[in-house]
């Protein structure tokens, strides 16, 4: 009933045009399926839980003007001020701002005096308020005590006696057993750092780092030439607090330059490359589908114009309107399925190449099939309008100008 045989011989007469459409569909499937794979991977990366209360966090960096400056005293006074501000839940001193793209990492060893085989982690120098300030969950052990805080100079040996680590770091350092109560060491050193607590999750300073999530927190204040604070506000209060911060801190001590930024903005900037990739690939996918649809509309219309007389004759010989529409839709499906089969193969080959050369994610079969189905629907929709118009060709056309 689908008149496959005459259809194939008609297609064979137009083989170049039909092939061109099939090639277009094939290329489109290859590009679209690979693009969607990359888009999905980036979106998943951006959507990963950060482990912290991103929306309500503010980071402050300040640099004193005079070279001689009582940094330790200033930090105590500033934190008192920050914690007393209305709308502020808690505040901490820190060496780096989460998700900001700027921070420090170190290698950690499980035995003293080692040279090789370290685990790298992003590290914080912070204070006992940091769990509450970041909005994290302590899943094992205890928080730091005030008496565990070490105050050191910028170039002193910065090794802590105790540390809190993320669950991810704990699991990679001690896969078999609990990390609680175990010791970490710096390379070529025998000073032990005891793990006293584990927090559930924190991505650290560089969300795009391959080890993001390996984070170690130390109770420490380094009196360098600049200092940072993190402030967590009550929900909805962030912008109100943000506006006052610089003035309040400057009022307490004007001898410094203060910079305030939200963690949300830091996060946005850290992911801006991924965001750009998602947006650009989405535009490509959208435009490409549109172009292919246009091509199908154009070519189907052309074929129908070419065959106006034949359609008229078929109608005169008793073919119904739906017979005519169906003819063109089935014809389109044959071309599309041919193209999609070609394209599926091409997609897998291209994916192999970009996965190897450009470290992009592998293409899943279900995604490929999903994209193929969407393209088939687009192709049929594009053919539908001219096919319905073809059905309106009057049988009387057959009698004209023969």
């Amino acid at each position: 009933m689908f008149e496959i045989k005459p259809m194939l011989s008609a297609l064979w007469r137009n083989k170049i045009s039909a092939l061109l459409i099939a090639v277009q569909i094939a290329l489109t499937l290859a590009i679209v399926s690979n693009s969607v794979t990359i888009i999905q991977e980036r979106q998943q990366k951006i959507d990963r839980p950060t482990g912290i209360d991103v929306e309500n966090l503010i980071g402050i960096t300040f640099m004193p003007v005079p070279t001689e400056y009582d940094m330790a005293g200033a930090v105590v006074a500033d934190l008192d001020l920050l914690r007393s501000m209305p709308g502020v839940i808690d505040a901490s001193v820190t060496n780096q701002l989460p998700l900001s793209g700027s921070g420090s990492a170190s290698g950690y060893f499980l035995e003293p005096n080692q040279e090789i085989g370290d685990l790298t982690a992003n590290y914080y120098h912070t204070d006992p308020h940091f769990i509450n300030t970041l909005g994290m969950k302590l899943v094992a052990g205890r928080n730091f005590r005030e008496d565990e805080m070490k105050i050191l100079g910028a170039h002193d040996n910065q090794i802590s006696d105790v540390a809190i680590v993320t669950q991810q770091f704990a699991d990679s350092a001690f896969p078999e057993e609990s990390a609680l109560g175990k010791y970490l060491y710096s390379g070529r050193d025998d000073h032990p750092t005891k793990i006293i607590g584990i927090v559930d999750r924190h991505l650290g300073a560089w969300p795009s780092w391959n080890l993001a999530g390996n984070v170690v927190f130390n109770p420490m204040l380094i009196t360098g030439n600049h200092k940072r604070y993190l402030v967590r506000t009550e929900p909805g209060q962030r912008d109100a607090v943000f506006k006052q911060l610089e003035d309040k801190l400057a009022e307490r001590d004007p001898q410094r330059v203060i910079h305030v930024e939200t963690t949300e903005e830091n996060k946005r900037q850290s992911y801006s490359g991924d965001n750009l990739m998602i947006k650009m690939l989405s535009v490509v996918v959208g435009l490409l589908t549109f172009i292919v649809a246009l091509g199908i509309v154009g070519l189907t219309t052309f074929w129908i114009n070419q065959r106006t007389k034949q359609i008229g004759i078929r109608r005169a010989l008793g073919a119904s309107r739906s017979n005519i529409s169906r003819y063109f839709l089935v014809e389109n499906s044959i071309i599309a399925v041919t193209g999609l089969t070609l394209g599926g193969t091409a997609a897998l080959i291209i994916n192999e190449a970009i996965a190897n050369n450009f470290s992009q994610p592998p293409l899943s079969l279900s995604l490929l099939i999903g994209c193929a189905i969407v393209l088939l629907v687009v192709s049929l929709t594009a053919a539908l309008v001219p096919a319905l118009r073809a059905a309106n060709i009057s049988p009387a056309t057959a009698t004209r100008s023969v």
């Binding site: 061109l20 003007v65 030439n225 490359g273 154009g298 970009i354």
Partner: protein, 443 residues
């Protein structure tokens, strides 16, 4: 004849407005998408030091951990990107290079006597005096500091033109004093606007970051306990016995100093390579440089490649954009074929009246070229829209990258015309094969 063909082409385009518009739109979208990506990649791959590419070299020494090679994120040549402070100061003693620069990024608070200017933190480049000559940085006022300032603490500063304008307005500030970290520095020079992109001389903190706001002599490290506001990597946390505090940092195996030399001739380069080889041998005797003897002198153009300034995402996007253009070309082939075949009777009549196959072919190819030209012009508009979109989506430094220059405008038109000529080849050939008799019969 060409003029006649062009007027025929225009008439033919007007004859089938919808099909023509579809083709022009397809070419325009293809060109717009690919030129947006290619422009960004082209600007990203630019070498701001091209005019000195044959004489400048980034210096790398393999002073890294004997147990494992330097490897950060899989990029590069397994040698640390930067030098230790002790190696940088040792290399500075060589008199072979015409110019040499040891430098890194830092920051100072800036305060002035003028209460109108609020204190701010200025990004600073701590560098030796040759920086301006080596990288061809033009001075607006004054010049670089004395050579002695690179070894002994001298409170001199060179300002960027924006910093000069911020503090002093349009005034020539040479001889004026500003406070950096509370200490009085004398302005010795003001440079012109200078913002190379990519920032080839220091790719550590983002290749498209702005240039620094102030420039400070290299002799001030101990006075201000200056460390790097950039990448700082170490492997030996043990350090030397008996040395503590900042001095330990200066003598450590941490790499944080960028080093460039200008070597004017092949002989000079050979001498310098020999000098470095000897230096490493001598250091080996003292127990340092335990890895196999390895160093690298890299020209700016290769340095950009080594640092993967054009990242993998950009490459994927470039391939994606070219594949997109290919789809548009295939699309145009199909549509052109349809369009030309519809006009077959016309071509048949021309053939019957004596036109050769060559003329029919040329005529139709020119028609394809006209479509390409129109598509290219529309494509440029779409490219500008695309680049504006990228500027919105990215942060400040990328603004300079997402810009079209004249070379790219011509490239867009050339790409469009080439793509449409390519697309027109088969349809034009097909129509030139038309058998005139068929159409004469039905007329």
């Amino acid at each position: 004849m060409i003029g006649y063909y062009i007027s025929l082409a225009m008439r033919s385009l007007r004859g089938t407005p919808i099909l023509s518009a579809l083709m022009i739109a397809a070419i325009a979208v293809g060109v717009g998408a690919s030129m947006t990506v290619l422009t960004v990649n082209y600007m990203t791959s630019k070498n701001p030091l091209e005019h000195k590419d044959s004489v400048l070299y980034a210096v790398q020494l393999d002073s890294w951990d004997p147990n494992e090679s330097y490897n950060r994120g899989g990029r590069g040549n397994q040698i640390p990107w930067q030098l230790t402070y002790q190696d940088a100061t040792a290399l500075l003693r060589s008199e072979i290079p015409a110019r040499q620069v040891a430098m890194h990024r830092f920051g100072f608070t800036v305060t002035t006597d003028d209460s109108q200017v609020r204190p701010f933190v200025a990004n600073a480049r701590v560098t030796t005096r040759d920086f301006f000559g080596l990288f061809d940085v033009p001075f607006k006022h004054g010049g670089t500091w004395e050579k002695s300032a690179d070894e002994t603490p001298t409170l001199s500063v060179v300002l960027s033109s924006a910093t000069n304008a911020k503090i002093f307005g349009e005034k020539n500030s040479v001889g004026e004093v500003i406070q950096l970290n509370g200490e009085p520095f004398t302005v010795v020079g003001v440079i012109e606007d200078w913002n190379p992109s990519p920032k080839v001389h220091d790719l550590n903190n983002g290749a498209f970051n702005d240039s620094e706001e102030i420039y400070i002599p290299f002799g001030l490290h101990r006075k201000f306990e200056i460390h790097s506001w950039g990448n700082n990597n170490g492997w030996n946390s043990g350090g030397n016995e008996g040395v503590t505090g900042y001095e330990a940092h200066l003598q450590s195996e941490s790499v944080w100093i960028q080093y460039w030399v200008e070597l004017d001739s092949a002989a000079q380069k050979r001498d310098y390579e020999e000098f470095i080889t000897n230096y490493i041998r001598q250091q080996k005797e003292q127990g340092r440089f335990q890895r196999p003897l390895k160093f690298a002198l890299t020209q700016p153009s290769e340095w950009l490649v080594l640092n993967e300034v054009l990242d993998q995402d950009s490459r994927v996007l470039a391939w994606c954009a070219l594949a997109f253009l290919l789809v548009c070309v295939v699309n145009a082939v199909a549509l052109l074929l349809a369009k030309f075949l519809r006009k077959a009777p016309e071509a048949g009549v021309r053939r019957a009246l004596g036109a050769g196959r060559g003329s029919i072919f040329t005529q139709h190819l020119i028609e394809s070229g006209c479509i390409g030209l129109l598509g290219g012009l529309a494509g440029i508009v779409l490219t500008l829209v695309g680049l504006a979109g990228i500027r919105v989506l990215t942060d400040d430094g990328f603004d300079r990258v997402a810009q079209m220059d004249w070379a790219m405008v011509f490239a867009a038109i050339a790409l469009a015309v080439f793509a449409s000529l390519l697309a027109g080849l088969y349809p034009a050939w097909r129509i030139s094969r038309t058998n005139p008799s068929v159409y004469l019969k039905t007329q």
